[in-house]
């Protein structure tokens, strides 16, 4: 009686929880208003089912079978990444699956097939149990002893390992006490059943949901491409957030993960971003500070696609970042990284955006980064040359010999060879001060003039100026340095 009631309660919570989770894939979506072809709003279960059926009855079905065997059952993606990790996952996966089919669902699946299945001491159960436990031991070893680089451990990761350990240990204890002590056997039964049913009821809300979503992501991504129904892509992207187990493969492969070691913003790591996005898309509220952090994290990306190639869940991170990045930028605020080569990929895809929406964030960043330097915009002012800002002059020193600006005798060679200056009929109107004027402003220690010119942010860093300076002024290096200073100045770290 007790067993039946708890079983049905657990099953109900599991069922409702699963439906709730799945409904989220249809309820939430990435904001695509800024695109040339914006997504049709009414994409729902209908289009998803249509897409799935169309795939099942097409040659793509063969691809699904291949991916199911290779990536879902044998898990080659994990194998290619790390053999120890593959061993860990395989031990847990095969052991657990065996127990699930022959033991938990034994009455439904096994007994009808083998009628003398019941054994006094079932060695298979013990072997499978040992396999799962060894897997968990390896997992613990990786997280606690090896401390795999950029693998973050959250409470959820501990929960999963502990609940599985309790289920297996109590089950094995039951099996071993069956013949020796019926009393203990009965007591342990309660622990075992409770742990199993708790795990079941909580499954949709825990990392364990990945046993459904990860195969789904692998299969969906094997047959979907850019030409797929945009509505279905949106649904898939929401589903992918649930398919991520935060295993850290992407963060480990990530081209710019090194920047995290220095900057410390954890949203630079793709796996941490995924964890954030799961919460974000449930209600879309975010603090200003949080937004700034996620904007920096998601913009600090060279679009090298390594995360997408390596993801064991087959998540199409490339497309996810592309869409989420745009949504985040469009929410406003200040991403100084937009004025760096990190924008190259966005530029390559310029034709996918509504042109006004494309320009808006760039224009606002440009304005914000030059705005604090008021002097530049008061051309009638007389600038007192005597009060050179020595403190500002002393800040220059990031690169080698940046003090060389003092040797500038304004021959204008740098501005003459500059291809950016050469591109404009009236360069000062478009760029404010030109390279030689910026060097002189440094010499005078006039911060506003040196740091406020748009020239800084239009610099190609082609080094023509520096190469052609007869005085060996490190013009390009100094421009780099002024950009750095301007960013720190803007973020209020330095006066």
């Amino acid at each position: 009686m007790f067993y039946d009631i708890t079983l049905y309660v657990a099953l109900t919570i599991f069922g409702v929880g699963l439906m709730y989770k799945i409904s989220g894939w249809f309820r939430f979506s990435i904001d695509m208003q800024n695109r040339v072809i914006s997504t049709p709003a009414a994409s729902g279960i209908g289009t998803a089912v249509k897409g799935i059926l169309a795939t099942l009855f097409s040659p793509k079905f063969l691809i699904l079978i291949r991916v199911f065997v290779k990536d879902v059952l044998v898990q080659m993606r994990i194998f290619n990444e790390d053999i120890l990790r593959w061993l860990m996952h395989m031990l847990i996966f095969t052991g657990f699956m065996f127990l699930l089919i022959t033991h938990a669902l034994g009455k439904i699946i096994v007994t009808p097939l083998f009628d003398r299945y019941y054994l006094a001491l079932n060695p298979f159960l013990l072997v499978a149990g040992t396999m799962v436990l060894s897997g968990i031991a390896i997992a613990g070893y990786r997280r606690l002893v090896l401390k795999v680089a950029r693998l973050k451990t959250s409470a959820m990761d501990y929960y999963v390992l502990i609940i599985i350990a309790i289920i297996i240990l109590s089950g094995m204890a039951m099996e071993l006490t069956k013949l020796t002590s019926y009393e203990y056997h009965q007591k342990i039964w309660y622990i075992h059943v409770f742990a199993c049913l708790f795990g079941l009821a909580y499954l949709p809300f825990s990392k364990m949901l990945h046993m459904f979503t990860t195969p789904l992501s692998l299969l969906a991504n094997a047959v979907m491409d850019k030409q797929s129904d945009p509505g279905n892509i949106q649904i898939r992207q929401m589903m992918e957030l649930d398919a991520c187990t935060r295993c850290g493969t992407c963060s480990n492969r990530c081209s710019v993960a090194v920047a995290f070691d220095r900057i410390g913003n954890e949203y630079i790591l793709p796996s941490e971003r995924m964890a954030f996005l799961k919460d974000y898309y449930a209600d879309k509220t975010i603090s200003t500070k949080g937004l700034e952090a996620i904007q920096q994290g998601i913009y600090l990306c060279t679009n090298c696609d390594r995360c997408t190639v390596a993801c064991p869940a087959g998540i199409n991170l490339r497309e996810l970042w592309f869409n989420v990045r745009e949504e985040m930028i469009q929410r406003g605020h200040f991403v100084d990284l937009m004025l760096t080569p990190f924008s190259y990929f966005r530029g390559l895809n310029i034709n996918e955006f509504d042109s006004e929406q494309y320009d808006k964030p760039l224009a606002s960043v440009r304005k914000k980064i030059t705005e604090p330097y008021k002097l530049l915009h008061r051309s009638d002012d007389i600038i007192p040359l005597t009060s050179a800002n020595q403190k500002f002059k002393d800040t220059a020193g990031l690169t080698d010999r940046s003090g060389t600006y003092a040797y500038c005798f304004t021959c204008e060679n740098c501005s003459t060879v500059c291809p950016v200056v050469g591109n404009y009929e009236d360069p000062q109107k478009n760029l404010d001060l030109l390279p030689h004027q910026i060097m002189r402003s440094m010499g005078f220690g006039i911060r506003d003039l040196a740091m406020g010119s748009r020239m800084l942010w239009y610099c190609l860093t082609c080094y023509q100026c520096q190469e052609h300076c007869p005085q060996s002024v490190k013009v390009t290096d100094i421009l780099y340095e002024l950009k750095n200073l301007s960013v720190t100045y803007n973020s209020g770290k330095q006066q």
Binding site: A259, C304, L339, P341, F345, D400, T461, C462
Partner: protein, 289 residues
């Protein structure tokens, strides 16, 4: 002769023909190429805003190569410039070296300056040599006019990169001549391709690209030749994207150098990734002898 290949972020996803052809040509020339999948971004994109992180990112790659005990073969000129710059900074300034190595020590890495950073073109020119290259040419080009595009970060700042003479370089032209093609003189040979401003100030970026294309066409070039993924993307994909008012100079496609060399060596189109260019360059084969 063995190098560790620094492939960078763009080539494996957007300029695969460069990787394919560079590997094919290296194989033909007996250059052994090792991979290191721990290599990450060279740091170039973050240089505008965070110099310290830039140094760390580049230095980590140098330390990895040092651990591997191999010199670096770099395909991208922006990567090349970054790595060279940071190696130079660390060599000049023991304080920086100390600070960076303290950070790298967390991963059991250390850079002491033992790695030679070489661009792919330098390896062909200096380590293989024009004479040996000549012997591998089986079907030279005839009457093909090539406009060489040197790429900024290899050439300048010359005191750091030491690639070639910064105002009158010959290295790339010599390499083109080996294939039987003519390396033409053109005014904007040493100028920037425009890529650094794409996504930042797109009109400026495309204006600069358009000027280069127009200059090359006017000088009678049949093709542009580059050895950097950014330059290639700019002349290939971005040229394709250019808005109508800039289209007047369309028609000068770009080929990456190892494709050009590989064709003259008689390597197959597949091996050279000829179909991966966005603008069709198959017509260049009609210039082969």
């Amino acid at each position: 002769m063995k190098f560790t290949l620094f492939i960078g972020c763009n080539i494996p996803v957007r300029v695969q023909q460069y990787e394919l052809s560079a590997r094919a040509v290296s194989e033909k020339l007996g250059i052994e190429v090792a991979d290191n999948r721990e290599f990450k971004c060279c740091g170039n994109p973050i240089r505008n805003t965070d110099h310290q992180t830039f140094i760390l990112m580049a230095a980590r790659n140098l330390a990895l190569a040092e651990k591997q005990g191999l010199n670096m073969m770099v395909l991208c000129k922006c990567c090349f410039g970054s790595l060279k710059k940071v190696a130079h900074l660390m060599e000049q300034n023991p304080l920086i070296q100390e600070e960076v190595n303290a950070e790298l020590a967390k991963e059991n890495l250390c850079y002491t300056g033992k790695v030679e950073i070489k661009h792919f073109l330098s390896i062909l020119y200096h380590d293989i040599g024009i004479k040996v290259l000549k012997e591998t040419i089986t079907r030279p080009f005839k009457k093909l006019n090539i406009a060489t595009h040197y790429g900024c970060h290899a050439l300048r700042p010359s005191d750091v990169t030491k690639f070639d003479n910064p105002v009158a370089p010959v290295l790339f032209d010599e390499l083109v001549k080996v294939t039987g093609a003519k390396s033409i003189d053109w005014p904007l040979k040493l100028e920037c391709c425009g890529a650094p401003m794409l996504g930042v100030m797109d009109t400026l970026s495309m204006d600069l690209t358009e000027k280069k294309l127009a200059s090359g066409l006017k000088a009678g070039a049949d093709y542009l030749c580059v050895a950097c993924p950014y330059c290639q993307m700019q002349f290939d994909r971005v040229q394709e994207m250019m808005p109508p008012h800039l289209e007047r100079s369309r028609g000068l496609s770009s080929i990456v150098y190892p494709q050009l060399l590989g064709l003259a060596m008689g390597l197959s189109n597949d091996k050279l990734g000829m179909s991966r260019n966005i603008l069709d360059i198959s017509n260049i084969e009609s210039f082969l002898e």
